[in-house]
Amino acid sequence: MPISRRDWIFGSVRLALLPQVLRAQDHARKAAKAISNGHAIPFEYLEPEAARTLVALAAEIIPSDDGPGATEAGALYFIDRALATFDSDKRELYRSGLKEVGAAISRLSPGSADVEGLSREQRREVIRAVQSTEFFAVLREHVVLGFLGDLEYRGNQGKVGWRYIGFDDQMAFTQPFGYYDNPENDPDGKGETR
């Protein structure tokens, strides 16, 4: 079933309070300061083990085969920020989801729950095992937002996501914006529609 943007907003369970968003932005400003001072950014919520699994899954959701993907965008930092602030009520979903992921890893690689021991195809197999869960729906949303969302939330680092899709965050544009509103490309040669 196609999901329209409005369905998505409607069906979304992510209903954070505005103060939490503001707090998240405040965190972001501090983090941006820390980066400019040359300090590494610590996680605000994630434990290293969960982070290792999540970064591997994110790298399969938006891979880096044809250019920067979730890894280069720092989508993991977005997830961390989300769970630390406006999506803190999703922590339990992540905990149970990661448990299912661990079980899927053990099935593929007996005796191990470590994603790092798996090949990329095996990692995709893990995702196929959980792709219809609510956890995966939220993880996918977080990874996409961590690739294409506002820089405030620590993802989309260096605007790699925006560059990839051709989005430009300038405050002002002048026409022609694209191919079809350029009078040079008017098949009638009149450019009258401008």
Binding site: M1, P2, I3, S4, R5, R6, D7, W8, I9, F10, S12, R14, L15, A16, L17, L18, V21, Q25, E60, I61, I62, P63, D65, D66, G69, F86, R124, I127, Q131, R140, E141, V144, L145, F147, L148, G149, D150, E152, G161, W162, Y164, I165, G166, F167, D168, D169, Q170, M171, A172, F173, T174, Q175, F177, G178, Y179, Y180, D181, N185, D186, T193
Partner: protein, 549 residues
Amino acid sequence: MTTPAFRPTDEVDFVVIGAGAAGGVMAKELSIAGFRVVVLEQGPYLRQSDYSHDELKYTILPGLTNDPKTQPVTYRKSEKESAKPIKAIEYGRQVGGGSVHFTGNYWRFHEADFHEQTLFGDVAGAALADWPLEYKDLEPFYTKAEYDLGISGLAGANPFEGPRSKPYPLPPIPAKSSGVLFERAAKKLGLHPFPAPLAILTRPYQGRSACVNCGFCESFGCEMRAKSSTLVSVIPMAEATGRCEIRPTSYVRRIKVDDHGKVTGAVYFDRNRKEIFQRAKVVVVCANGVESTKLLLMSSSNLFPHGLANTSGLVGKHLMWDLGLLLEGLFEHPANEFKGVQVTRVIHDYYAADAKRGFYGGAGIDARFDYYPAGFALSGLPPDTPRWGLEFKKTFGHYFTRTISLLSHATSLPVESNTVTLDPTATDAWGLPAVRITYSQHPDDVATQAWIRQRQMEILEAMGAKKTWGDQPGGFYTSRHLMGTCRMGKDPAKSVVDSYGRAHDVANLFIVDGSNFVTSARQQPTATIQALAYRAADNMVRMARRGEL
């Protein structure tokens, strides 16, 4: 600015509840006429410096809209079901209301919209009715709204529109790629495309800047003050009179009534959740098609046991929905539709209802792009796109700049069993009852969508789309056009207010917003909400000067 601060114990002339599309107009018109006005607004008083282009904050989280965590809404399809919490309706919740974050579409209703029952006859299972006024009664007020607020467009370009007394104050928006292709294709099909009438400045106007094409209109506040919200247009005029106080974070819980059945003012929670009673000679409710009704139902009393102004039993009934389908097309070259206002070209060729089709309904169609980056990747792609992996990434990477949308704006019939009521158990963070929505689409509304979907597909193909996809008829999504629930009419047994928004039951109570709508026309209610507000205010001023209020 000399904004007064009235004391709640001062009996002001008017208390206006809600500072949105209608309330902002009311504030300006009443204060300029010399009356003392207090406007109580649920939400905060934000400025353009408070806004940003943060997609998460404004399109996913409730940055400028009602927050279901603090004000839950419950929904059910029919009375037989129990209602579940879900954000079924959405409204702008700050000074300026929905006029702050709306896309800016500013369509006048057509002449026929005011008497469709006479033209079309009854529709089984619906309460289709004529309005108690005609287009010619509202025309001067449409014009007034266009000049006061700053609306751009091209007079005469829409051959289906009623006569207008003046051209638009601002020139039309130039076509962007979606508009160029749409205009060319529509003409080829024998249709009549015209520049979208928009509450967006195409030139500097009244001290405000023209649009700079940043692309963040829908769901966002405008940093340039180029979107003609009431926040940046009429509300500053009201405040400049020195007779109007806008009181934000003031959430009204009750309208008080005296023993003679006249209202005496409004009780609200201030920012510290302290209850305050603001006295007033007249109460004007402009809180939107859902919140106004909620307030009337919460204001029941011995005199009005079923809710204030509800002798007819119709308060809360005939809720109409924001219906229409968003269809997408993929094009060969980058259109970069993320730049510029969402919509530049429109058609009204399929607007009129026609009994020959076998169902009631019609729609307008506009060419636009309705997505921001993450939202597009998450929900704008064809249904056969993988949901993750390299193919997913490549698809949103290729499609983002090459996708153009056509959005239809379709009829929603008034049906008595589609209602706003108070939820019997769920409450909000202030302890007030949650709004409960009961709604399902009339079969003719679904038939209209199926029919208009084919028209949209024809146009997308004529535009040269390589691939098309999008919404299916009868789908369900959040409504942002809140209409019906306090319908206007001449007969007090069949309506809640008269054509000036005056409650049939209470001489000094007015309800003026989308709740007054008798029919949904073809969506895009803001121009008509505001024209009705100008007309209602004009009448209130005359009545008050005659000592009739």
